[in-house]
């Protein structure tokens, strides 16, 4: 056991002392924050440029009330000038565009005939804003036409939230799905990143030992299995440390940057959402609902989430990095790894795809359920499903299968590893690997 500790220690130190590791650890968060801040800064600058839009309302149904100026768009009524003249002004660059509302017999026809003219094609957020205004107004006009009291409509709006229960006592709510999606997606994505970065790091470390030929000396002192396990644990520890430092640095630097430059980091996310949608979202979150959400968050099984996250994170990493170790042992240099990498990376990517494509729409559907039980995709898919509540028997099956597969794959990889580390020269084929697995002792 102490030999394993020695190996873990050496692998950890060798990894951590590596210059590129140090640079990556301290530079990446700075880069991420700086890039993020830059994006926010540019977006702010972009938003500060106010668009000037004019409208020509031939129908006479629209008023200045409907085209209220917003932070980014100013509206002017040029109905008096007529469309042809206004268009000329737009062409001259006096305005950013002209909205033309023709006179039509019916509202339906009108809704389809409104046009927007500009030199450059307008951005999505501008068009969404215009459409939202026009649609709301036309709807209101129709309601009035049907003699429905607008005040009553407003008063009849009610917040409803159907709570969902399953028979294992898990409770969920549609409202909090966004949060669950975020938690699941971040967890799944983190795991994939971690496996890709540190799995290949395990592989590289095996190849390095092979090319420097020290491996034969090491395995004359320790079992190849110990060496492999030591490498995996050592690299995982270095990786966790790096993630931990990244987390702290990102947090600290964000605070510093936002303090110095006055950029709200939350805006980095928020600014991606068009203003009107943001407002709509804000409206939806009335105090009642906010309280509901807070209740939901407090009801999320945080401890369970955390424990399962650790389990699947480490289980997934160990499963995959043992495969990476076997690949490293099988080849002489990194260029030869390609042919063996695809079958390792494919299930990882599949897991992420399944996670994003199916879990979010139907967290307990057949594909999501199956993929969260199959060991190669389960770490990612299950991590994404857990926030939605997964029945205990599915969890037990999935975890048990992961452990069994993990032990089996480590055993299998150790066999390939044991033979591979002492093989030089020939680039092995899958047939060779199969033969190595069958070697005794």
């Amino acid at each position: 056991m102490s030999k394993l500790k020695l190996i873990i220690h050496r692998e950890f130190i060798a990894k951590v002392r590596n210059k590129s590791f140090l640079i990556m650890t301290f530079l990446s968060p700075i880069l991420i924050v700086v890039m993020g801040a830059l994006v926010v800064f540019l977006m702010k600058k972009n938003d500060e440029k106010v668009k000037e839009i004019v409208y020509v309302d031939a129908s006479g149904l629209f008023t200045k009330e409907i085209f209220k100026d917003s932070k980014t768009v100013k509206y002017q009524d040029y109905t008096a000038l007529g469309l042809t003249e206004t268009k000329k002004k737009v062409e001259n660059g006096d305005f950013d565009g002209v909205l033309y509302i023709p006179k039509k017999d019916s509202l339906e026809l009108l809704a389809k005939s409104i046009a927007f003219y500009s030199i450059d094609s307008p951005g999505m957020s501008l068009m969404n804003g215009l459409e939202a205004r026009v649609e709301t107004h036309l709807r209101n006009l129709k309601l009035i036409h049907f003699e429905i009291d607008l005040m009553q409509i407003k008063a009849s709006e009610i917040a409803s939230d159907i709570k969902m229960f399953n028979f294992s006592g898990e409770e969920s709510s549609k409202l909090i799905n966004g949060l669950k999606i975020a938690v699941g997606a971040i967890a799944g994505y983190l795991l994939m990143m971690f496996v890709m970065i540190y799995g290949t790091s395990v592989m590289r470390s095996v190849i390095e030992e092979k090319t420097s030929r020290i491996v034969e000396i090491i395995v004359s002192s320790v079992k190849p299995f110990q060496l492999m396990l030591g490498k995996i644990i050592g690299n995982a520890s270095a990786g966790l440390l790096q993630f931990f430092i990244w987390g702290i640095l990102l947090f600290v630097i964000s605070i510093i940057v936002s303090a110095v430059f006055g950029i709200d980091m939350l805006e980095m996310q928020a600014s991606k959402i068009p203003e009107d949608q943001l407002n709509a979202a804000k409206e939806a979150v009335n105090p009642d609902k906010l309280q509901l959400i807070l209740q939901e968050i407090s009801r999320l099984p945080i401890l369970k989430l955390f424990v399962l996250f650790i389990f699947y994170f480490l289980g997934g990493f160990f499963l995959y990095s043992s495969l990476f170790a076997a690949v490293g042992a099988a080849v002489d240099n990194e260029t030869d790894t390609q042919q063996f990498m695809l079958p390792i990376i494919a299930p990882l990517i599949l897991g992420l795809y399944v996670g994003f494509a199916t879990v979010m729409n139907d967290p307990h559907g057949p594909i999501a359920t199956i993929c969260s039980i199959i060991p190669f995709t389960s770490p990612i898919v299950m991590l994404m499903r857990i926030p939605y509540g997964v029945s205990w028997y599915e969890l037990v099956i999935s975890m048990a299968l992961l452990i069994i597969t993990f032990v089996f794959m480590v055993w299998l990889s150790a066999k390939i590893y044991r033979v591979g580390i002492l093989m030089y020269g020939k680039k092995p084929t899958y047939k060779d690997l199969y033969k190595w697995i069958k070697y005794k002792g």
Binding site: K3, L6, I7, R10, A14, E208, E209, S212, R213, I214, V215, E216, I217, I218, V219, S220, S221, V222, K223, P224, R418, L422, Y424, K435, K438, Y439, K440, G441
Partner: protein
């Protein structure tokens, strides 16, 4: 127990390929044992089994009287043919790490390393990385990490390859010193001159089979041909040669000597006394050269391998 290592009927196969076919060896305590054989004969397979890097399919290995056990690696030092150290790791740290893997405590390892580093006068390298050292310097470090845990058994695979003559001599001296202290040493090599100088026992492996094993002197004795190389200063060499041919099997010889009228290889039959040959020769002229032709290890090696194939 006079034998440190006993290998009994070891078989090792890789798929369809048999690397070791029922090989048995006995390695006496305190000896230098030469494990000889052409490339691909199975030497490295055998060494890896002794080092427990791989396991034999069948057969047993006894170390110090007991079946070879995992902890025995602490009493074995192994220098593989392909030398290797962590290139970007510092010399001292690396040696400490490898010593600890061999079961030494950190403080003990430090003490031993200091002794060896002083002995080889390389203490200044402690904080250098291996990649900063020359090949010869790295070889010295390699030797130290092989022997520092005072193993009972040392295994050197082609120990002198890669060493320059001065370092090779230094290492040879250290190896003989270790033997004097009671260490048993296995040499795996196909460089025969070093075998002649250092080995007490040899075993020859060819095509997965052991074809020869024993004390070097005994083997040489077994391979003697009873042939004598003679040089005679005589006035009538043709007459003497004719007479010799009647008595013995004679063939022309090629060696360098001054003043010899007659140069011949004379092969005695079993039971014939070389003294009779010598007295016959002295009666015919001045004997200037009389040497028994004993095959060197190289010739034994070639003969045995040829006979085997």
């Amino acid at each position: 127990m006079n034998n440190l290592l006993e290998i009994k009927n070891v078989v090792k196969t890789y798929g369809d390929f048999t690397a070791l076919n029922n090989v048995s060896l006995t390695i006496p305590r305190g000896s230098v044992f030469g494990l000889l054989g052409p490339n691909g004969a199975g030497k490295t397979s055998l060494i890896r089994i002794i080092n427990q890097i791989t396991m034999q399919d069948t057969g047993e290995v006894y170390f110090d009287g007991k079946l070879l056990a995992p902890n025995d690696v602490e009493h074995i030092g192994y220098m593989p043919e392909e030398r290797g150290l962590y290139k970007s790791m510092k010399v001292g740290e690396q040696a400490l790490y490898l010593a600890q893997l061999k079961g030494l405590s950190k403080s003990e390892a430090k003490k031993r390393l200091k002794y060896w580093f002083d002995k080889f006068d390389i203490s200044a390298w402690w904080n250098k990385k291996i990649e900063e050292l020359s090949k010869g310097m790295a070889q010295k470090v390699q030797f130290i990490v092989t022997v520092m845990h005072k193993p009972k058994l040392l295994i050197f695979d082609e120990p002198f390859s890669g060493f320059d003559p001065i370092n090779a001599q230094l290492i040879a001296k250290e190896i003989l010193q270790l033997r004097a202290e009671g260490t048993t040493i296995i040499f795996s090599t196909h460089r025969m001159e070093s075998v002649e100088e250092m080995c007490d026992y040899i075993a020859l492996i060819d095509q997965s089979n052991k074809i020869l094993e024993g004390k070097l002197d005994d083997i040489k004795r077994a391979f003697r041909t009873n042939t004598f190389q003679v040089g005679l200063a005589t006035t009538n060499p043709n007459e003497v040669e004719a007479k010799l041919k009647q008595l013995y099997a004679v063939s022309p010889a090629d060696f360098r000597i001054i003043n010899a009228g007659l140069k011949l290889n004379v092969t005695l039959k079993k039971g014939e006394n070389p003294n009779d040959l010598l007295s016959f020769l002295t009666s015919q002229g001045h004997v200037q050269h009389f040497v028994e032709l004993v095959p060197d290890v190289n010739e034994i090696f070639m003969q045995a391998v040829n006979k085997n194939s």
